[in-house]
Symmetry: C2
Subunit: 617 residues, 2 copies
Amino acid sequence: MAELVFLPFEKSVETDGSKSLLELAREAGIPLQATCGGKKICGKCRVFVESSDGPLAPPSDREREVLGGDTERGCRLACETSLAHGAVVHIPEESLIRPQVILTSDTENPYPVRLNPGIGLYYVEVPPPALDSVVADRERLVLALKQAYEIDDPVFDPFVLRRLPRALRSDRKGITAAIREGGEIVDLYPGREERLFGIAFDLGTTTVVAYLLDLLTGEKLSVKAAMNPQIEVGDDVVTRISFCQERSGGLEELRTKIVRCLNSLIREASAEAEIDPDQILEAILVGNTAMHHLFMGLDPRYLAMAPYPPVLQEAQDFKARDLGLGIGSSAYVHLPPVKAGFVGSDTVACILATGLHRSTVPTLLIDLGTNGEIVFGNRDRMLCCSTAAGPAFEGGHIRWGMRAAAGAMERVKIDPGTIDVSWKTIYDQLPAGLCGSGIISAVAEMIRSGIILARGDFSEEIRSPRMREGEDGLEFVLVQASESSTSQDIVITRKDVAELQMAKSAVSAGAMLLMERFGSDGAGRILLAGAGGNYIDPLDACTIDLFPGCLTSEVKGVGNAAGHGACLALLDRDKREEAGRIAAQMEYEELAATARFQELFVTGMFFPAARDYEDEF
Amino acid sequence: MAELVFLPFEKSVETDGSKSLLELAREAGIPLQATCGGKKICGKCRVFVESSDGPLAPPSDREREVLGGDTERGCRLACETSLAHGAVVHIPEESLIRPQVILTSDTENPYPVRLNPGIGLYYVEVPPPALDSVVADRERLVLALKQAYEIDDPVFDPFVLRRLPRALRSDRKGITAAIREGGEIVDLYPGREERLFGIAFDLGTTTVVAYLLDLLTGEKLSVKAAMNPQIEVGDDVVTRISFCQERSGGLEELRTKIVRCLNSLIREASAEAEIDPDQILEAILVGNTAMHHLFMGLDPRYLAMAPYPPVLQEAQDFKARDLGLGIGSSAYVHLPPVKAGFVGSDTVACILATGLHRSTVPTLLIDLGTNGEIVFGNRDRMLCCSTAAGPAFEGGHIRWGMRAAAGAMERVKIDPGTIDVSWKTIYDQLPAGLCGSGIISAVAEMIRSGIILARGDFSEEIRSPRMREGEDGLEFVLVQASESSTSQDIVITRKDVAELQMAKSAVSAGAMLLMERFGSDGAGRILLAGAGGNYIDPLDACTIDLFPGCLTSEVKGVGNAAGHGACLALLDRDKREEAGRIAAQMEYEELAATARFQELFVTGMFFPAARDYEDEF
């Protein structure tokens, strides 16, 4: 065993050459990026071998391809490199997973929330047992509930029963039973209890948000967010599904990761609201189908195999403890229905929150998360699909792409005359790269400035020192090394533009297809849900032709609509029925099965707006 | 810390004087008896300090009282003695808990068993998902069950769902769903499955018996028995209840002990039947109310406080996993109803098994376990009570009393002329003491031989070297030291006889009271259930006047009727309803509240039969 030191962390690990630097870094708790899950694809896990006690294997073909000239400076892909000798390895900042800015704010709510959580608090006074005719604790409580409220034969689980004898014999008068619709007692309190709590989760591939709500007032007591820790094994859904397939115990590993994350959000939110997690008597969780399956411990492998069937579609109610959630020991977790392998309960919740299913105006709803889910329709008919937009909208597969973390450029301005570039970064830090909205903004500005042409090529007519030949052909320098936090130029390459073209074309072709199927030639309004959607400038979206036939005025960000929909279904039990009807009403289009989608995808690669601007120059 | 060695085990432990020898022996895994749970009452934990590196504290008053002259030979009560010095302590065989002979055989079954286990196996072929209209795995199975069997909307728990995708995609054709009455799928098998297993438990204070049954044939595949490991903290129910009250975490400790014991019986029975414990899809458990509560984790303390209310009475169905049972992950455990704090589901099961509730003949049913539960009645009316008979029937509080283990004398013969004694021991080993039936047999023979008089006193007219003055007054030597396995005389003392008088009087007074309340002057038949009851010779029982007005011909042992009743309710779901009706029909008499019981108890202390024999001499 030899000693390996990771800088700047100064963490030492032992190495014998059997594990890659990526595995060793992960084991040492260093959040080294690996968007592809260590499959040697994404090129995000760059590290520099600063010194080595022995000879290094020469860079692999893959490393040469991804890293180019950087290999000469000791740059390696951590997933490709193993060392049997002692060494010092430097991990640059841009190779680390950074905490993402997570959208937790609400959409404007088109319908007032009715408070109808489906759990009632019932206070009764239970007489003590009489010596001449002893009736047990449970049966005396059942009788008292029957007499006071005409509640018939409530169900008790063992955990509630265990609390019963003490609760009946406290020094407080009476007892309060929390009874769930359907007649099960989910908690018991000595005396009179007048508070009731629930928690809603929006479980995304990248981020997880928890909303702790007072179910009797509707008040949002605490909102907590975290990165989905499954990200360690891969950024996207497909990588995680592969992980479950390839690694024995992989499913259980991913399930445990997410349950721990949810439990830590439960604890944080409860601490902020100054309640005990045990007081939370109902949970609800929405997410894309893969996250939904991983949370439940359902094998997701068939989601990735045509025809991509989920294990289940309908809404489910389970004991929260059966899924490992650390809330009330007899509490339930409700899982709204999923529609298809790649249209999950988060999309159903988005529809619920935005009221698309009640709208008279034909509405296009796009959730630009790690996958792009698209819904088009109105109160009469709803069509949906999922597009493999790829990770470009989240900064993936883009040379200087990054998550929406501190230092990410989110807006770019280019002076069409001087070709000067200005920008806005998250938390106003020195620029470290471009997040999704920044990439769209940069490309949109480059189109409007005539730098990028209709097919995505860079104009050869632009005379600017910012335009230069790079490793991947022409590239445009947005930020000089002297102004960036990484001391390197931040550029947009022709390849980056091609990635964005594919991503935006996938979305616009999906939307076009749904509109064609619907028989509509345009959306009355466009709703952008999800973190990505919320930060994109509608004008930029139109410039890159993200939505078919869009007009700026029609586009509206609706924030974390999935999370809001989950909260609605937590506060109002009837919303769960409504979600069931929505899922049943949605018509799913499988794009993989559709030749028309391919046609639309190809024509959607162009930047029509660019032509307009070209004419101006 | 000093070193303490326990002989003959040659186990060393460290001692600093803070723990009693009893605690140290238990920690070392030595099954030292302590019927009273270490409360310094029972005097069973005798040990000999053979050598000590330092001075010993003089024997306490309690030790002098219990041990008498034995203290001079280094005999101490392990629960009273702590040593801060190194020492060698010898634990005699009679101070050890011995494996008990456990009654597992069936009673003769008065009614044929109908096979109706309440779980059905449903084979269906589920079409694969179609690309043009993807239906999830769960929903396709639901549809297939509906089409083939008109089963509506079955319930799946997460553990069943987790098995679904694989089961649907095995290389076997079709899938079999095990569906429980009520519509829940409790297991899934790839292909066609045609076996179904269940397990019944009779959870006694002293012994636990498990019956593994084939639910489709009714065949008993394996019967396994074990001592209830809770015995380590005390032999009787009341000691265990105190343990829960006095020790923080005591309830959980006892619950864990019994669950581990049940799980080990499950594994043993499954191994014998060559099945996997996961294949067991239904469990049923009967026991006295305290055992029932401890198994469920319900605080039993109020069972010991007037008016002795149980936490619950009605039958319950819980997920076996919620109570920690290691059978099928989605299987249920059924708990038949309990009647009162000291009349449990074992008594209900005894009635079910013996058919007392259908009998036209007034029947007296006595379960002589650690507590004596008594039922009197017929198809029209049933009365029940529980008597604190004390542990005499199980060898407790008797100088040479012991459990029904190897070497226990179970039958005694005394020649009325020569006063010679002969005996039969369990497994024909050298006598080590007397188990319950042996005590009854010895006293009955002593009555018949004129040695014991009506009030229980020893006759002064008997001239025999076996009659002698002992520490507690007169005593009768049954076995000479040279013939016993302990190299000590085995005697019956006047005090032993008094213990038996109290025990038998409690039972007969309880039975008398029920008969009076019923308005009957005699039982048409007497059924003796439980291990104790089964081994007692009916003639002996009549001689000591255990049952009021009994005739030998009327008395019948019915074996482990509680276990048999549990098996019936496992094989035939309708028997569970029947058990519910039995419990509802039973009228419970609380003896503690009844002056008449006290009167009957006092008059029941005599041995009426003795008077008859006295006349003969």
